[in-house]
Amino acid sequence: MSHATFDDIPGTYVFTGERAREGRHLNRFCMSLMSPANRARFKADERAYLDEWPMHEAQKQAVLKRDFEALLEQGGNIFFVLKIAAVDGRTTQSVAASFAGQSTEEYAAMMRSGGRSPAGLKSISGRF
């Protein structure tokens, strides 16, 4: 299977080995938030905690800004970066909404009325 096939799907992250390599330390940082002690240390001084990890500056900035799109662009995996949202007490739905530039209320209303239609969102090349 070629990456090109996945790349033809608009607005969709597929967590390939390449992305895993790019996001290795970012995802390790996210996993560290599973421990209550680490969560407390992160909350007390986010920058200092991030500096303990050999992450790129852009990845650290994305964490500090809670820019989930940027986190995925830089190798974050959705299930790992959601741990940052959990620290903030944010729901998965509010993170999903933020990707699409919607408020959580707009997004929830869209889901209640059947979700986002795949029409026009299947293929960049128009093959599907």
Binding site: F6, Y13, I78, K83, Q93, A97, A100, G114, G115, R116
Partner: protein
């Protein structure tokens, strides 16, 4: 002799667990989902298996990205509910069937499916939400559970066909277990959903319903489908549906569909649920 008597497919949305644990099952957002499982809960009362082989995926709970097994079987005596960031769900500990799990591991590895053996593993909503939906809120789970974790997060994920054929190998393993046990195989995850990117919130009802039709009547169409097609049509997390094929593969060529339920949404996800029995049962 052990025998596989039924297969169940079910979504495993974490928010369903939160709604159940928080006593919000009557809320209009959630009531239709719990109603859709009522038939199955009653049916399970009358057709309670001794053991459920529960095919699911972990969501960065038991497995970090340090070690990524493609298929991992839980051989422990018990599995604790995982802390997914807001404390473990207050549900009973999941008891395994170590002897059958080891028998399956022995059988399928020699059958050329290289499972990772887990003697210690916490189980997250991927496993516990289907248990709650189908067995309610008992003080102790009335069945033993063998967790079978499939990697659907880190690519390369196994092909749909590999998942199906693992189901066939599990069926051969169960049939060769000498004790008299009633075994069900549950496949979980899906249906269409995508949590990230511009397509976040994607639901493909038409494709989901066709998947359910084909799962019963034409699973070959689903086992030969590419990863790209699963992602394109069912969303990035819709890839989880390949785990339903392990259940389907374990049931043999001909099945009877006893129950089907489909509902949109549970939070971000389309909920699908089926109950099958093998035709010779």
């Amino acid at each position: 002799m052990a025998r596989i008597t039924a297969g169940i497919g079910s979504s495993h949305v974490p928010a369903i667990g939160a709604a159940l644990d928080g006593g919000r099952t009557a809320h209009p957002d959630w009531a239709p989902i719990f109603q859709g499982y009522e038939w199955s809960r009653e049916w399970l009362e009358a057709h309670k298996p001794d053991v459920v082989i529960l095919v699911y995926n972990d969501h960065a709970s038991a497995f970090s990205l340090d070690i990524v097994p493609t298929f991992a079987i839980g051989c422990a005596d018990s599995f604790a509910p995982a802390d997914e960031g807001w404390g473990p769900r207050r549900i009973p500990v999941v008891y395994g069937h170590s002897k059958l799990a080891w028998h399956i591991a022995n059988s399928v590895v020699l059958d050329e499916f290289d499972l990772t053996i887990m003697n210690k593993m916490d189980v997250d909503h991927g496993l516990t939400v289907p248990l709650s939906l189908l067995l309610g809120q008992p003080a102790a789970w009335p069945v033993k559970v063998i967790p079978l974790a499939v990697n659907v997060i880190q690519y390369p994920t196994p092909t749909a066909n590999r998942c199906f054929r693992l189901g066939e190998a599990i069926a051969r393993a169960v049939q060769s277990f000498p004790e008299d046990l009633n075994v069900q195989v549950w496949g979980t995850g899906g249906m269409s959903h995508q949590l990230s990117g511009r397509r976040a919130g994607l639901i493909n009802r038409e494709w989901d319903l066709k998947f359910l039709d084909q799962l019963t009547a034409d699973p070959d169409a689903l086992r030969t489908m590419s990863h790209a097609e699963y992602v394109r049509e069912a969303g990035s997390e819709g890839m989880e549906l390949i785990m339903w094929l392990t259940m389907r593969g374990a049931l043999g060529p001909k099945i009877r569909e006893l129950h089907r339920f489909y509902h949109v949404p549970a939070s971000n996800t389309a909920v699908g649920h089926v109950v099958f029995t093998p035709e010779n049962n």
